[in-house]
């Protein structure tokens, strides 16, 4: 379980994350949703120790992220931010292999190699495995990054807008993959998502943020309803139930 308490981050005088105290349940998919500038990515960065906090604390399974050695955390928790601008010319295979670094420190064992093959296969990257990243499309590159994070084989996987650059087929494939990782391997996946229908369809738990604060959190059905969505997004959103799933319609 990830617990944040009193988490704060200021840019100048504005609090981008303002006193966030929330629990992210272990096992299953938790989505963080909310309008632009709500502080979702900033919060995810602090949870994953990429960004220092101005106040408050984060613990992952009881480990304080700002005090635990980084290499210990790297075996528990992995993070992929959005907009990864990589200048290094690495092949997909090399990139994914570096996901094993926290475990093997560069000396790959047979077990590491199995992880690499599996991650590449999971994200359908077999035909690209010897290609350089700069020879791939945006969506293929995004999948390669996710494969790397998956190869890290951590209990907690944090992804900031993993569906960026992905077409419908691959976006769905990615979400199914996350669901599978949760069910079969007992992982905890935390996603920042913009598409509330993806959040509704695939998550178990949803955290809604607005203006740096958590406005609602709970099981997905507690969030995906017209009243809660109105509070979060300040617009009228119709929610329909189709085959047991709630689908939001917000086109006018």
């Amino acid at each position: 379980m990830i617990i944040t308490s009193g988490l704060k981050k200021y840019y100048g005088d504005t609090a981008v994350v303002d006193d966030v105290t929330v629990e992210l349940p272990a096992c299953g998919i938790t989505s963080i949703i909310g309008p632009n500038g709500a502080g979702k990515s900033t919060m995810l960065s602090m949870v994953s120790r990429l960004l220092g906090m101005d106040a408050g604390s984060v613990t992952v399974d009881g480990l304080d992220v700002s005090k635990t050695p980084s290499d210990v955390l790297a075996r528990r928790l992995s993070i992929l931010r959005q907009d990864n601008h990589m200048t290094a010319r690495l092949t997909v295979q090399d990139l994914v292999a570096f996901g094993r670094y926290p475990h093997s420190k560069g000396r790959l064992t047979i077990e590491d190699k199995e992880h690499i093959d599996r991650s590449i296969a999971y994200l359908n990257l077999d035909e690209f495995r010897n290609r350089f990243l700069d020879e791939l499309s945006g969506g293929q590159r995004q999948r390669a990054f996710v494969a790397m994070v998956l190869c890290q084989d951590t209990d907690y996987v944090l992804l900031d807008e993993p569906l960026n650059n992905l077409d419908m087929k691959h976006a769905m494939g990615m979400m199914k993959l996350m669901r599978r990782a949760c069910r079969e391997l007992g992982k905890t996946v935390v996603l920042v998502l913009h598409d509330i229908n993806f959040a509704s369809w695939y998550s178990d738990y949803i955290i809604a943020m607005k203006n740096g604060k958590v406005v609602r959190h709970g099981d997905k059905n507690a969030i995906i309803n017209p009243e809660a969505l109105k509070e979060i997004y300040e617009m009228d959103i119709n929610v329909h139930e189709i085959g047991g799933h709630r689908v939001s319609l917000f086109y006018d």
């Binding site: 980084s70 210990v72 990864n84 601008h85 200048t87 690495l90 090399d94 570096f98 670094y101």
Partner: protein, 319 residues
């Protein structure tokens, strides 16, 4: 892998050829027909072998310094001479020459390395205010910083009548390399070995700070290690043979196009090609107006700038 071995064999052949080029008559025949105390053997041991070793060491370590720099700055166009490193090392060498002329070369080299470290750290500090995605802005900033530091150096060199020495330091030249005057360059080899040992860490750092932290590495520590390698290599080469421009730029770029940026794979390539490139340029410089010599920095500068232009234009084509 097989190609790399071909490269190593080629380097060894060139190195052997390099041993037998020069005004003094040194050849297998003269070596065998004279005793070890005679001139041919003495020239070989005192001058030719040191020179060839100096070329191999300086060439490989400078190319590695360029590689490390490009990986940690995440920019293809930086190397010690486009980041203020070389100029800072020169300033340091001038300062120590003025203040403590009696110090051994080793101590002077260390002072020079400390200055190089400071100058490069300043460069990285300035880069924080520059949008890093502007690829060409980064080396421009470095060249400007180098210009400012170079101006300070020239000013003091002028005031203390050291301009001729300054010119000599700036002009890389292997002709004055003798036994006892190049051994510091072995530190360059140490730098290369360090770069190879830490290759994975550097490759990870080259992915950026977020990836590095995610993989559990301390980004700042890797950067510092890189800076230390770059500074020591720059200082060592500067005080031993003078500066050699472009080398750290061309060789890593060519290798990147060939085998990518995974340093575990590129370090051997960069070291071998760096040595070969300087060796070739030195042989050309020695033969073109035989028995006179053209300094290595001139040959590398001419060949290097042409190659560099080619790389730049090629890049534009691909993008």
């Amino acid at each position: 892998m097989r190609l790399l071995i071909v490269g190593i064999v080629l380097t060894i052949i060139l190195a052997i050829i390099s041993l037998f080029i020069g005004v003094s008559d040194v050849s297998l025949a003269t070596l065998l027909s004279s005793s070890p105390q005679d001139r041919p053997m003495q020239v070989l041991v005192m001058s030719r072998i040191p020179r060839t070793l100096a070329i191999l060491l300086a060439g490989s370590s400078l190319a590695i310094a360029g590689l490390v720099m490009q990986i940690i700055v995440r920019n293809r166009f930086v190397e010690p001479s486009t980041a203020g490193t070389t100029e800072s090392a020169t300033l340091g060498f001038l300062v120590v020459t003025l203040l403590a002329p009696g110090w051994p070369l080793m101590a002077k080299m260390l002072v020079s390395a400390v200055f190089a470290l400071g100058g490069t750290a300043l460069f990285l500090r300035i880069l924080r205010f520059v949008p890093l995605r502007e690829v060409l802005l980064v080396p421009l900033v470095g060249i400007m910083l180098g210009g400012v530091i170079g101006a300070i150096t020239s000013f003091f060199a002028y005031r203390f009548n050291l301009l001729p020495s300054l010119l000599a330091w700036n002009m890389g030249d292997f002709s004055s390399v003798l036994r006892g005057r190049y051994e510091l360059l072995w530190f360059g080899l140490a730098g290369t070995i360090m770069a190879y040992i830490a290759a994975d860490r550097f490759t990870v750092a080259g992915m950026g700070q977020d990836f590095t932290t995610n993989l559990g590495l301390n980004y700042k520590r890797v950067m510092t290690l890189g800076l230390i390698i770059v500074s020591i290599v720059s200082a060592v080469v500067l005080v031993s043979v003078g500066s050699i421009p472009f080398l750290g730029l061309i060789v890593p770029n060519v290798v990147s196009l060939m085998v990518g940026d995974n340093m575990r794979r590129t370090v051997p390539w960069v070291a071998v090609l760096g040595a070969t490139f300087v060796l070739l340029c030195d042989i050309v410089g020695r033969l073109i107006r035989f028995p006179y010599e053209i300094p290595i920095s001139v040959v590398v500068g001419v060949v290097g700038s042409a190659l560099f232009l080619y790389l730049l234009l090629r890049k534009r084509h691909n993008a």
